[in-house]
Amino acid sequence: MAPATTLEAPPEGAVAPPGAIRKRRKPQLAGWAYAAPTALFVLIFFIVPILLVGQMSISDWGLFAGNRGINAPENFTKVIDDRLFWPAVWFTLKYTVVTTVILLGLALGLAMLVQEASRWTGFLRTSFLVPSALGLASASLLFYALYSPQSTPLKFLGIDSFLGTPSAALWSTVALIVWRFAGFYMLLLLVGLQGISGDVYEAARLDGAGRWQTFRYVTLPLLRSSIALCTILCVTGSMLAFDQFYILTKGGPDNSTITIVQLVYNMAFFGQNNLGKAAALSILVLVALLVVNVLQFRGLRDKES
């Protein structure tokens, strides 16, 4: 982030004007006054909840019963022993890998297709982007109707059931997510593509590089930071998937599509009513997310050097 030019030390500061002392104090106070609402919000709705979730994770804390004292580390052992824990971890990882690979591959293809500016590509960009305007829940409801045997217009595809078997449910959800997010990632990659100067392509052409070689040795390396941003966003989003599975599959069939965040929700509000256990699992999710993102950042930095 660029360091902010501040008004605390005006350029004429060397020849201190009469009001300098007063002026130097005031910006600090004023600065705090303007930042106060942000600070208050962050404190009440972010810092306090983070501390509270830590306390809840080591307490016997029921949804209705409330806090019944410390019981560490019972919540964590109960979470790991939960019969749905490992299946949910495995499914979430599988879903994350599948979604990220397909989504970024397609988004890159779309970005290359609409790279040049013209009326036609303008229309294409808008078409690919419109689904990104919908909320994820709205998109999931739309596909819920699209996939139902009663109302589906997709009978010609010859698919018996879009959500009936575990693998059908996974792929149907991936299709929904690809539809909803491909335009969004296309746009991010397009920004990267447009940052590549035409001279580089010209040089590649003069060196006799073919289209594939240009793509592989010029475009991809220069696009690395955009691809990295997309990967981090996509992995994070997929690891925390909830809406699409809650609406489309409800975790079924046979609990085969339960994600980690769904498990958090179920532990807290659905059946078990155990906020302590849900807090413990949500802390594990937070830690996993931090570790994955640190690893991604480090991997990308190593490649860069």
Binding site: T6, G31, F46, L134, G135, Q150, A182, L187, V285
Partner: protein
């Protein structure tokens, strides 16, 4: 070169149709005749009538959504305008720490925050309330909003900023009369994204709102599917999707430029 492009055109056009198809289908299906819905023969708005009469009535859910969206946008704009101004134009102790902590909200999953917020809002007397819901949604918007407003203020030419403050204007008058007009594009982007997030959010009201009359629209339409003895009225669901999607698509088409801007300055939340 152009003859090479013909298959590419066909491919791209086909893809565009595939992307547009689900939305077009939902709009058409919601008014077309279909067994098991309110619209069994002939075309018409029977499904919308079902939707209008569902439980508290779609009017109530629309009002809930509008209240939550308006409050979220207002709070997000107010807090991030002042916060962005503070971070960009003043130095004060704790400035960098506060900015980093605000951005750190992004690193924490919604679920991890919603579990304690459910308890905390109970203690604050904001449980099951649209105000509590709006404040939480505004908090989720803060990292993007404060970041966006900070870079908007920093992009103002230094001469204008200094002139505004040195001219004997107090810093608040400088903000109101000179600087707010200069950061208007940033405000529109922040407002647009806050609106879309509040209008579309699902998991936050699912956790924080237990009274079905207070459900915002996405939650109400999702709940509607589980009604009527397990038989789902897909016509009403399609109509609900159209009502949910229409404002978003219209806003998108009208403000595409701001969308792109928002996406580019570090798009959030996959």
């Amino acid at each position: 070169m152009s003859w090479i492009k013909t298959p590419q055109h066909v491919l791209a056009g086909g893809l565009a149709l595939i992307f547009l198809f689900p939305l077009a289908w939902a709009a058409v299906a919601s008014v077309s005749p279909q067994g098991g819905t309110a619209q069994t023969d002939g075309w018409g708005f029977g499904n919308y009538v079902t939707l209008a009469n569902y439980q508290a009535g779609i009017g109530q859910y629309l009002i809930n959504s509008i209240v939550v969206s308006t409050l979220t946008v207002a709070v997000t704009l107010g807090v991030s305008l002042l916060g962005g101004y503070a971070f960009a134009m003043f130095t004060f102790p704790g400035r960098n720490a506060l900015f980093l902590v605000t951005l750190a909200i992004l690193m924490v999953p919604y679920a991890t925050l919603l579990i304690p917020l459910y308890v905390l809002l109970n203690q604050l007397g904001l449980q099951n309330s649209l105000i509590g819901l709006s404040l939480v949604l505004a908090m989720f918007q803060l990292p993007f909003a404060v970041f966006m407003m900070r870079i908007s203020f920093e992009a103002i030419p230094a001469e204008l900023r200094e002139a505004a403050l040195i001219d004997g204007c107090g810093s608040f008058r400088a903000l109101r009369h000179i600087l707010v007009p200069a950061v208007k594009p940033g405000l529109i982007t922040v407002g647009l994204f806050a609106f879309l997030a509040a209008w579309n959010d699902f998991i936050t009201p699912l956790v924080l709102i237990s009274d079905s009359d207070k459900a915002p629209l996405p939650l109400a339409v999702a709940n509607m599917r589980q009604q009527v003895m397990g038989i789902v009225d897909f016509g009403a669901t399609e109509a609900g999707v159209v009502v949910l999607a229409l404002p978003c698509v219209l806003l998108f088409l009208a403000l595409q430029r701001h969308y792109v801007r928002g996406f580019m300055s570090g798009a959030l939340k996959g």
